[in-house]
Symmetry: C2
């Protein structure tokens, strides 16, 4: 039989493969079902309702597959609509953006890059322990798709990279070059790996990520491509907010940068919500365990409108039930005139440390996806 | 999106669907990976080697998907060849023949019938407890295939039915009508269910199954279709074997029967191996637990050449490392001149109570299988 899922010994660059932009057409969206009680409050029921809503919205635009553990299979199946598929898979937590393979294509065939994953820093600043099930999520997903696999021996997460699909990558030094990910690699070595495994030609490095965000700076909370040559940048005009300097520094870098095609980057400032904090009731709903970071009343939450998600013909924009929601929504509608823009309140996801972009992963459209058979 | 996996409220018969014969073309074969230590000796390693061999052989003829639990994923992936896909799924044991849905088609679309499963008799004679994960295997498999589901409220196993794909079913009363399966149904009611859910028109009832077989008589150890109008029947000429009367009684019934098309049934006698017994060493390798039947030195094993499996262009025939293997193989080669006949030693599967047919399930060829995407 000719259908094989192989682990290749070459790399995408030399094979003519590259990572398409998220705004390109999708074949489907992957989501994982949150369940752990030491991350998600009230036994994960409130966040499950949000994920149900998120999956239902995306399913209006494209196929959705929700991965779920053995224990939650029937619960997820009963909560999700019929047009969402539910596949059993085990994982340590539901951050598929960071645990999925990076999908690459040569325009004909789909393959996946399987990075190392250590829960955003391992024992040196990571968010939970263990992460061994997360680390084999890419293999399982690639089996579903009968897609060949590249194994990249670097620690990296999908939320830490933004590509324009035309050769340009934006990433944040504080995260990518953090010793808690790849202690034995310098910047030049890391750049070579990114060139090879993402098929890119140019990296724009920002210095720091969103203030207090626990991933050491995921670019998907800070700066996201709208289209080639154009980005949203997380913004604040409040000089007393530590975010102020971070955003202004990034603006300066981006304004002076050109992309892989030699274009200047058009930067659109996207105002962050005013600082949001975890309430006592919310913190109280999270079970204490030895295996996950505690969440404490009054902790500032890493809320960002940058953490949006493209779907075919649409954009899903986070909302936080605060005054800035409307401003952000208006701005998205202005920028994405050709797409349906839908806002979803993601506070329950935010309580776990991320947003709706962190909870989704696109499978690029590709004619030769062989699917399960 | 139009891809839905629905649970239908109609039945296959009224929708124009029927169950194709196993000898019809397959889209793929499903297998589950054995692992439980209280059924499979020596931590299931010996039987895993046989399943690896079985999957490898079948993969030469058609696509194979092996389902495996979270704990065994990497082990199975590393043991199986690249052209076999490995999907995570949980189950109580690996008897996919009995836990899979019965696939039905109208010639265009694939759907599945999800029976109740109670481990061959539940607390009244079943082989293990619990069986709740087995019971939702059909839902998970149908999700993989994006195939709609019929939920049939009767307890039935795939090994208990043999169809010719042209309207005829052969089954064994001792099993199908056993009070430990469907205590509140009489024969007429059960026949109506089988007509409705398998799209058949005629049932040929045998009285008893293979001697000492613990499923109360699975027809796939006793009598199997070779092609429409023609069967193999488990046979012995040893008048002192309790099997003698069982086989002769079945022969008499079959010889007098006509199938759904009005054809007489041509019966080919297939000689069983001489009685085989579990050795002390084998019994000693099985861990004692409260959850599975004990296996004791000297127990007679339900060995049968009837438990063979069709693949596209081939037939996989069980072998038991005994004198009759060669006789059976010759007989298969005579009957299946158009197929490659391969014999595989399945003693390790037999120690768990079944054979290679019990460990496989065909997905019929069907143009509209939507696969994972």
């Amino acid at each position: 039989m000719d259908i094989k899922m192989r682990t290749l010994t070459t790399n995408p660059y030399e094979d003519g493969f590259y990572m398409p932009a998220e705004f390109s057409e999708h074949r489907a969206t992957l989501i994982l079902w949150p369940e752990r009680r030491d991350v998600w409050r009230d036994g994960a029921r409130p966040v499950q309702r949000v994920i149900k809503e998120l999956a239902s919205i995306i399913a209006k635009f494209e196929k959705v597959i929700v991965g779920v553990t053995r224990d939650e299979f029937l619960n997820a199946r009963s909560m999700l609509p019929e047009n969402v598929s539910v596949f059993e898979i085990s994982y340590d937590d539901a951050w598929i953006r960071d645990t999925a393979p990076a999908f690459v294509t040569d325009g004909k065939e789909l393959r996946g890059v399987d990075w190392e994953f250590n829960a955003w820093g391992g024992l040196n600043g990571g968010s939970y322990f263990p992460w061994m099930l997360d680390n084999i999520v890419p293999q399982k997903v690639l089996e579903w798709l009968h897609a060949d696999r590249y194994k990249a021996s670097i620690t990296l997460e999908g939320g830490a990279i933004q590509v324009d699909g035309e050769g340009t990558l934006i990433a944040i030094k504080d995260c990518i070059l953090n010793p808690n990910r790849n202690p034995n690699m310098n910047q030049t070595e890391m750049e070579q790996m990114l060139y090879n495994y993402l098929g890119i030609k140019k990296i724009i490095w920002l210095e720091k990520g969103l203030y207090l965000e626990e991933n050491n700076g995921h670019v998907d909370n800070m700066c996201s491509f709208i289209r080639p040559g154009e980005v949203f940048l997380a913004w604040t005009d409040n000089v007393n907010d530590p975010q102020y300097e971070i955003s202004h520094n990034a603006y300066e870098i981006l304004s002076k940068s050109v992309d892989a095609k030699g274009r200047s980057i058009k930067v659109r400032k996207l105002k962050l919500p005013e600082p949001l904090f975890i309430t006592g009731e919310e913190a109280d709903g999270i079970e204490l365990s030895e295996y996950a970071l505690p969440r404490i009343k009054g902790d500032r939450l890493p809320a960002s409108y940058l953490n949006f998600y493209f779907v075919n013909g649409g954009v899903i924009v986070p909302g936080f039930n605060c005054a800035e929601d409307e401003v952000a929504l208006t701005q998205f509608k202005e920028v994405f005139t050709g797409r349906t823009v839908i806002q979803l309140n993601v506070r329950e996801i935010l309580l776990g440390g991320g947003g709706l972009h962190c909870m989704t992963m696109q499978i690029p459209m590709c004619n030769s996806i062989k699917g399960i058979l």
